[in-house]
Amino acid sequence: MEKIKNRILEVVPEAVVVSEAPLTVSVPPLPFYDLARRLRDDEDMRFDYLVCMTGVDEGESLGVVYHLRSTVYGHELVLRTAALDRENPELASVVDIWATANLNEREVFDFFGIRFINHPDMRRLFLRNDWVGYPLRKDYNADEKINPVRLESEETIDVAPAYEASRDGEVEEIEHVLFKEGEYVVNIGPQHPATHGVLRFRVQLDGEIVRKVDVNCGYIHRGIEKMCESLTYPQMLALTDRLDYLSAHQNRHALCLCIEDALQIEVPERVKYIRTIMDELTRLQSHLLFWSTFCMDLGALTAFFYGFRDREKILDMFEETCGGRLIMNYNVVGGVMQDIHPNLVHRIKDFIKYLPPMLKEYHEVFTGNIIAQQRMKGIGLLSREDAISYGVTGPSGRASGWACDVRKIHPYGVYDKVDFKEIVREDGDVFGRYMVRMEEILQSLHILEQLVDNIPEGDFAVKTKPIIRLPEGNYFRSVEASRGEFGVYIESRGDKFPYRVKFRSPGLPLVSVVDLLARDGKIADLIAVGGSLDYVVPDIDR
């Protein structure tokens, strides 16, 4: 780490080291782009994975925080920079360094109004084009009269604004043409059964060949990050369940870990076991739902009934222990809400015996089917480099040969004590992503098998103060949710409310590769690609 610090100070002498662990460096905006490029390209640094990008309103300036990780060396770095002019904030875009910055920079523009120079497409990502103001700025006026509920749709624009810097540093606005006059554009969504929620694609077609996909998000953007700024830490927990409702436990686990880290609470061993068991059960039900809906997308309706039948068994366990079927509200700061139900252990044991024969049946009815194979194999290829550059984590990233499992990289809970295999495949196509999930089901069962008999006795929660105040500082924690790395970034100023909360959703990178994967394929393959990525739209939009 010392070496990296010295290298950064060598490149940018005016950089300020804010903290040592994790290494956080504040860099002025001008040399930022060159530093970013060096960070990714230099042999001994290789920060090739932009984990999370967060805009922060810092009062006089508007800052951006970049969480970087190297997939080669595994080291991590937090970079901060800020646009100093609040009225006319501008920063250099890093799209050509990390492809995942594309949608992330649009998100920051949407929330804070920071324009990224040399970004190809500076449209709003979530809000309407005619939205007034930037909601995550602290001086945002939330008056209903300024932004009323409008009942006419916004005009879809074919020409996006972009900003380019000329050689002498002058910034000029240019037009980036998304779809030219006369090109055949088909609208898919937001009301479409195969988009898995309210996601909207604009697809340019040439016959039945897809030439370009333009993703439009925001049809379920609920502004959770802004809401969190006016909620206390225990209140915030309820909203994480509703981000990606199929990874409810894991999302909440991430936030709890982040808060516990900041407060330096050590949770009892029993809690770690319970949380890990619940995380794996959540992963199981999510993957079962993936199987049901993905097969349904490809025309196999029976799979839907089979998958849901088996998923209900897990939901029953949740209901008994947590009280909820889908939104469990189980993890709390310092532990879990209540102790596990006495039935849980034997129910899990029954389930471990029950599922493998069912999986065999799944493979018989669907995986081996020649039509299914032809619709999956060789479709939507994602290379390892692209997966890293776009930040596609989870089963989709692992299907491209990138070992990105947070459970292995940064073990939390009791993942360091259990033996399980990280499923990595090299194919990178729809079939690969499908098979990774199917094999992960078996691994999850294997983890449960090791844990279920060994839950130690003890408290199910430690007592916390009635009012939780996080010490001043920045905290980031991530867990492996069902569809990838879910991260929580909290910036605290010592108050009982957070100053800024950002959820690194696994869904946003997933949806950003749809264009790459579906391009030059058939339009029917777009559905297979979307299904295999298994994004959850409320998780993308937050």
Partner: protein, 185 residues
Amino acid sequence: MKYEDFNDNEYLEELRKGGVDVIVGKLDELINWGRSNSVWPLTFATSCCGIEFMAVGAARYDFARFGFEVTRASPRQADVIVVAGTIVHKMAPVLKRLYDQMADPKYVIAMGGCAISGGPFKKSYHVVRGVNTIIPVDVYVPGCPPRPEALLYGMMQLQRKIKVERFFGVVNHKQPKSENPDNEK
């Protein structure tokens, strides 16, 4: 659930307290019997409630028992829209258009806290506080998300509502007041 509890909101049947014409009334009953047992929902879901909606459609809860199983992806073919999930500002015009595209007679079920009032996201800058500000709602099903049984109960309440509608002789309750011939007398 006991039958008495099912009929706890009595007002619906009161609409018919005054009795109905023998022939037209019987015809109404026949038509409504058919209509109420083949309510086709639109495949529409925005968030968490959508998963529970799917669970109701799957084998365990199986709303096919009540005639709701034909979920339609096109609003033109649907009778009822189950608003499952939060409706945000950007989605509001889309929902309105979906509702307008449905053929009459059409019904709306607001499923879950978000659709009823904005739910946990009531204070957000981008959330519509209740779909009843956009489209008329027939049945509200509270919960976050509602249990599948709750949704089934809500859909059966809708069936009751359909059963007291009148097609012949008198106005349909969906008709605007200005078109009501009774008003002119």
